[in-house]
Amino acid sequence: MPRLSAKSATLLVLAALVVVSPLFFPSGYYYRVGALIFVNGLAVTGIVILTGYAGQISLGHAGFAGIGGYACALAPVHLGLPPALAAVLGVLISGALAYLVGRPILRLKGYYLAVATLGFGILVSMVLNNERQLTGGPDGIIVPDLGLRGLLKDWGLNISNGEFWYFFCGIALLIGAWIALNLRQSPTGRALRALHGSEIAAQTVGIDVARLKLQAFVISAVYASVAGSLLALQNKFITPDVAGFMHSIEMVTMAVLGGAGSVLGAILGAGVLTLLPQVLTVFAEFEQLVLGLVMMLMMIFLREGLLPSLLRKLRGRDE
């Protein structure tokens, strides 16, 4: 049998997870958890492109999720756009903003870049908190219904709200993963990984390092924006927390914990970190403490991230 490419294997595993998991759901509530994992997985896939491929860090990507989310809340009311088009508008704004912000700050490296992106995230979050007239401030704002489930019902497909968002986000994640995997093996993806390896060598083979970093930044901002829109649309409500500092940190943590260089690994990281707090509720007031401890232990013992470390161990045993 011919060996599966890493890309096909990843997509197959993801598709199988999306389809098979519901068989084991003890209650309808788990569709919600599943959908949340997929949305986080999508945002984190964008981080894989920026951090895993191109080696650049952002501690402000929740800002783009905020823009995607609030676009879905505001554009239907103020511009009369249907929510789906509002999400597209969010993508355009996020992409344009990433381009404008990325140009000056992607010249910075390492923790300088981290602090600059952090500043961007805080800025977006502050605007969302303070422009009460428009955004509703810290209390959040209602998001109109996407309307797709109603359409499906008219066509004779009647599924619950939870099921609808579970599969809708699952499909979005599959498409996002497919695109990220396409990129990885493409000329552009190779150039991104090359500049990650050595910027000097990348330059001498003709790679326009500044331009490629910017492309990675814009693409990953689009992922975050779509994730923010999906979150807002399924909750039918959004607060500035979606753009908050903690959310940015969460994205990076999920990617690094799962394995930032690998799409499947990062999505696994999103799954683990979304599920852990649910599981750890048995520890009651020690929940946060245990969560922190688990994260530290994972980084100490699975340094390259959950999936890459486990794969390496398995392979080591084969040989």
Binding site: I179, N182, L183, Q185, S186, P187, T188, G189, R190, A191, R193, A194, H196, G197, S198, I200, A201, A202, Q203, T204, V205, G206, I207, D208, V209, Q215, I219, G261
Partner: protein, 259 residues
């Protein structure tokens, strides 16, 4: 018109002149070697020519055009390519991918096509891969193609860098100690390869410590000492020059001349 011409190039770090008023020329098919003791400024000179350092004075002319201080990636698209004394390998990639990266200017295209895996993107990638495999065969690394670059020996990495540099189909190629750390057989192979590349019409600027190699393949030798050019000429002339013997051969004779 000279292909690459350097006029009065100089740079100082913290007041110390690392390179001072160095001029030289290279024409297609020529191998011009730069020799001199450690710290003479050879690598610094390469870094100025290839746009990594901005020179304080002087200029670099490529095909008659002033390209002084131009960004390295722009120089690459104008036909300049180089290797590094301290390896600059993409350690996070396979050997094959390192070689393919050298084809960046030929394989790049619309990002959207890459994101969606469109036929145009696949075609570009396939062509680059075929080219890269041919180059790996040329430097004897075809069997290591799928290994992690980081797992290769030093000598193999040197050859991988040469393959990557050749992938650009350069008009001028800068090689910074390509044979350092290579055994006699590998050195012989690199020697042959350099001669072949020059014979195909590429202008080569070579920094190399192996004097036998330098004397055998150079068309012209430039000697640097403490940042200044102290002699130049045909290999035989230079090796007889008393100033050169004093500054360079004298101190390293034992290491290189009789090896």
């Amino acid at each position: 018109m000279t292909l690459l011409s350097i006029e009065g190039l100089g740079i100082a770090f913290g007041g110390i002149k690392a390179v001072h008023d160095v001029s030289l020329k290279v024409d297609p098919g020529e191998i011009v070697s730069i020799i001199g003791p450690n710290g003479a400024g050879k690598t610094t000179l390469f870094n100025m020519i290839s746009g990594i350092y901005q020179p304080d004075s002087g200029c670099v002319l490529l095909e008659g055009e002033d390209v002084t201080g131009m960004a390295p990636f722009r120089l690459a698209s104008r036909g300049m390519s180089r290797t590094f004394q301290n390896l600059q390998i993409f350690q996070n990639m396979t050997v094959l991918e390192n070689a393919i990266a050298g084809f960046h200017l030929q394989e790049r295209g619309a990002v959207l096509a890459d994101l969606l895996h469109l036929p145009s993107s696949r075609r570009r990638a396939r062509a680059a891969e075929a080219g890269a495999r041919a180059l790996l065969a040329r430097v004897g690394l075809e069997r290591a193609a799928d290994r992690e670059a980081g797992s290769l020996s030093y000598g193999s990495l040197k050859r991988l860098e040469i393959a990557r540099a050749l992938a650009l189909r350069p008009k001028v190629l800068l090689l910074d100690e390509p044979a350092a750390g290579c055994n006699a057989v590998e050195t012989e192979e690199i020697d042959q390869l350099i001669a072949e590349v020059a014979a195909s019409g590429v202008a080569i600027l070579l920094v190399e410590h192996d004097m036998k190699l330098v004397m055998r393949i150079s068309s012209h030798v430039v000697v640097l000492d403490q940042g200044e050019k102290i002699a130049e000429g045909a290999p035989a002339e230079v090796s007889r020059d008393p100033a050169v013997i004093a500054a360079y051969l004298g101190s390293e004779e034992a290491a290189h001349a009789d090896g």
